[in-house]
Amino acid sequence: MISDAEKKLLIRGTQVNYYFVCRTKLWLFSHHIQMEHESDIVELGKLLHDETYKREEKSLILDDLISADFVRKGKLLEVHEVKKSDKIEEAHFFQLLYYLYYLKKEKGIEEIRGFIDYPKLRKKKEIRLTPDNEKRLKKVLEDIDTVVRGDFPRPQKKSRICRSCAYLEFCWA
């Protein structure tokens, strides 16, 4: 079962990610007008996670809608984010940063390291919650609240990322 705290973490994680991808998507997702369930790309993303990391320990942070994560326990707690491509690096960076921040704040876990894994690219990137990063993240969280509480930001201009977005038809119909 997903606990409420974890669910909250999950939703906020996706919000952080969407904030960097598209404000319209962030707003719609946050207002429960979600389209992910029909997207084949989202579905493939989920499968990628199951495939690549089936041998890893069960995830503490549960399957996300577009990303998927797992935790490995060693001397330090390792939090991993699995991504298909490094196209939206900033989004991935802050999403993971948010998880680290949340674990520290809400669960008191500080001995922790974050990794973004790109299995298809055989790449791995380490992320730490430095005071500076924490400050940047807090600013992002505040901005997210402002966007979500505000009016519906109508789709602005069709861009390249729209092509693979689950909200493509919604925005451009």
């Binding site: 493939l44 499968l47 495939e51």
Partner: protein, 87 residues
Amino acid sequence: MYVIIVYDVNVKRVNKVKAYLRKHLLWVQNSVFEGEITKSQLERIKKDLSTICNESEDSVIIYSFRTKKAMKKEVLGIEKSSISEII
């Protein structure tokens, strides 16, 4: 995309494979299924079949086409099962 899946598996697993494929594809005749699916559905099927099957004993072959139109189908003799959506 459009796929045709044929299988030759140990008798112990035949029913399992058949029951599984019936949820996704249309039964055409013994050990043959076909149908239109998405990429992710195909990935899911491949993954699930590899759990059901034993790699050293069973064989599953998947033919895939970009669309149904890319494929030509002819039936000689009797058609074992209708695949029409109008019943």
